[in-house]
């Protein structure tokens, strides 16, 4: 086998352009796909125009909060590009330098403060967007909705907190500052106590009965308002989310994007090289000469798979090493990487051998390899729930019988401990390797026929 392997490497060395394309093209596709699904290292860029006067204060109950905190909160979530006017904001959005512009109008704080008056006015902020691309438009909408929901929640929590404080004052009494003066509030609890102490001193009659009714009301109000206080707290966020994962194990999107890029690279190198070099044996008329006692058909298939796995391993590791410049990889899991790449490479290479044995001609093999690998790779990225259940079942069947999806799961598991089960992926790859080996071996029966 080693002499055939050496021969194939010599042929690759004599075809530097093809070899370079074989390495460069898969990496290019893999990096592009990886970038497309990665979360993006940069925050969204938003033009920010704050027209609120710097001395404005948001008054909630007795507390006055500086309005500048709003800006800090927003710009902590996105990359803010400060602009000086609305026209400048429009220009930034139109040019595409920013995804959107957020304008806080001068009366924003006054409107927020009006919420606690008898003439409330709805606070409004202005968002400028450029909907030249539907994907971008959806992205900006989602981002704005999220920011707005967060801002509303923060304000609602503040208001609910102040409401609760007032209730406690009514129930338990205490000091209340208004118009520069401090007022002592008795509270329902103390009022009921005083009334309870006075009641026995009064002679039986209508006055005592009236006092008993007042004391009873104070006690009922105290008890019921005690219950109302936590309800007001919950008003700000009435529904709490408890997320329970019942299926799958999701690593960070960044790790998944790296796994996708690595698996695409491995798939293209292994499949193209194995299928192409096998078909080349036929085009050079060497297949019959080789299998005439010099090497068994199974041995020839094994040699091609080893060639594909070795080349795939080298190129995939080089690509991962290159990615290390941009993202941090878990090199302490290198052993698992190797296991995943080798198992994935063997299965993908064996599938390549089957394709090569079936297609037989180098050009047909190259075309077939692309026609099979790319669509199946993209199908493997379709998440459940993204399409109808029937279509998703069909996608699952198609992706389960080709080694790309289990190889992707194996690499995802190897790259990140939060990934799916490595053992299950390796077992599926082993089963697919056996199945494709049988197909390749059967296809070789008519391989040399004209």
């Amino acid at each position: 086998m080693r002499w055939l392997l050496l021969k194939d490497l010599q042929i690759l060395r004599r075809s530097p352009l093809q070899a370079a394309l074989l390495v460069a093209y898969p990496i290019l596709i893999a990096v592009l796909v990886g970038l497309a699904i990665s979360p993006g290292s940069e925050q969204s860029r938003i033009a920010f125009l704050n027209e609120v006067p710097s001395d404005a204060r948001i008054t909630v109950g007795g507390a006055r909060l500086p309005a500048s905190g709003v800006e800090d909160r927003i710009c902590g979530r996105v990359e803010c590009v400060e602009v000086g006017s609305r026209a400048e904001a429009v220009e930034e959005v139109e040019s595409g330098d920013v995804q959107a512009a957020l304008i806080l109008p001068a009366d924003l704080v006054n409107r927020i403060n009006s919420l606690s008056t008898f003439t409330p006015r709805t606070p409004r902020v202005e968002i400028l967007v450029n909907e030249d691309n539907p994907v971008k438009a959806q992205l900006v909408d989602d981002r704005v909705d999220a920011l707005l929901a967060e801002a509303n929640l923060a304000i609602a929590k503040r208001i609910a907190g102040e409401g609760s404080r007032y209730l406690e004052l009514i129930i338990d009494g205490g000091e209340f500052k208004a118009l520069g003066a401090t007022v002592q509030i008795l509270g329902l609890r103390a009022s009921a106590g005083i009334l309870a102490a006075i009641e026995p001193e009064l002679p039986p009659g209508p006055l005592r009965e009236s006092l008993r009714q007042v004391r009873s009301f104070a006690e009922q109000a105290r008890d019921n308002l005690d219950i109302a206080s936590p309800l007001i707290d919950r008003l700000a966020q009435p529904i709490a989310v408890e997320k329970v994962t019942v299926g799958g194990s999701s690593p960070p999107l960044e790790s998944f994007a790296i796994a996708v890029a690595a698996t695409l690279t491995l798939a293209f190198v292994a499949i193209l090289l194995v299928a192409g070099s096998l078909a080349l044996e036929r085009e050079e008329n060497a297949f019959a000469r080789l299998t005439r006692g010099l090497v068994s058909r199974g041995g020839l298939l094994a040699e091609k798979v080893v060639l594909g796995v070795l080349a795939g391993l080298v190129v995939t590791l080089l690509m991962l090493a290159g990615l290390e410049f941009f993202v941090s990889l878990r090199w302490d899991r290198f052993g698992l990487w190797l296991a995943a790449i080798l198992a994935g490479g063997v299965a993908l290479g064996t599938a390549g051998a089957a394709l090569g044995a079936l297609a037989r001609e180098v050009r047909a093999v190259s075309l077939l390899a692309f026609m099979v690998t790319l669509p199946i790779a993209f199908l493997s990225l379709v998440p459940s729930g993204a399409v109808g259940p029937g279509l998703y079942d069909a996608i699952e069947v198609v992706t389960a019988v080709f080694p790309f999806e289990p190889a992707l799961r194996a690499l995802t598991a190897a790259l990140d401990p939060a990934g799916p089960s490595l053992g299950a992926a390796l077992a599926q790859l082993a089963a697919l390797t056996a199945a494709y080996a049988v197909i390749a071996r059967l296809a070789l029966r008519r391989f040399a026929a004209p």
Binding site: W3, L4, Q10, E284, A288, L294, V295
Partner: protein, 242 residues
């Protein structure tokens, strides 16, 4: 040629079917050491199928082929070698696959034998068809076979290259190698073969020396007996219903 020598290769009742079509119909013959046997016949006669069975590429449906293990060298019609490797790399690869004890020594010997020693480092794709065929034959000879099978070895060669090829093949036969070659060039067969096996529609019609075939033509198609060998051969086939 010693007619009493032990056969280097013996085919007995070899039959091959492709679906309903019978490509070979019970073909039997022997090849003896040092003999040059030409398998001739029109296109589709079964020449390549017969040589492929003799070489072990195809299995016969009926009949058998007897030859010592590893004693049959095979040179396919189209050069079976790697065009992106050099002459020497090709020979060395197959010598290693043949498990020669001294592969480099065998390669040097073949380079001398084929007269390609000075072109050993040239990429095969840059060589002429004739030289590629010489390497093709050299690879078939690496195992030092007792029998060499050549499937239409002169196809695509110019007259000068043909002459050199046959000179080379004759030298091998003179050294005791049984050479079995197929051709549809009747005059080439008459010139270079010591014996002819005529196939038509998978059937062996004649097995004997070229002179004996002329005698058979004279007997069966006397009107063509005095014409050139190819015309006489065609008339003979016609008389035999092919």
């Amino acid at each position: 040629m010693d007619g009493t020598a032990v056969a280097a290769l013996r085919a007995s009742g070899v039959t091959k079917r492709y679906d309903e079509e019978e490509a070979l119909k019970g073909v039997s013959f022997e090849a003896r050491p040092g003999e040059r046997l030409a398998v001739i016949g029109p296109n589709g006669a079964g020449k390549t199928t017969l040589l492929s069975i003799l070489a072990g590429i195809l299995d016969p449906d009926d009949g058998s082929v007897e030859a010592p293990a590893g004693a049959v060298g095979w040179v396919p019609q189209q050069a079976a070698l790697y065009r992106r490797l050099t002459v020497e790399e090709n020979l060395l690869l197959f010598a290693r696959l043949e498990r020669h004890p001294d592969p480099r020594g065998s390669v040097a010997e073949m380079l001398e034998l084929t007269g390609l020693a000075e072109r050993r480092e040239e990429i095969v794709a840059r060589l002429s068809g004739g030289n590629q065929q010489r390497i093709n034959i050299a690879i078939g000879l690496l195992a030092r076979p007792a029998v060499l099978l050549l499937d239409e070895p002169s196809v695509g060669l110019d007259p000068r290259q043909r002459a050199r090829l046959w000179e080379f093949v004759s030298g091998l036969a003179d050294n005791g190698t049984a050479v079995v070659f197929s051709t549809h060039d009747i005059q080439e067969a008459e010139r270079y073969a010591g014996r002819l096996l005529v196939l038509a529609d998978g059937e062996a019609l004649f097995d004997g020396a070229p002179e004996a075939l002329r005698g058979a033509v004279r007997a069966e198609a006397p009107e063509a007996a005095d014409r050139d060998f190819e015309t006489a051969f065609v008339a003979y086939l016609h008389h035999r219903g092919h």
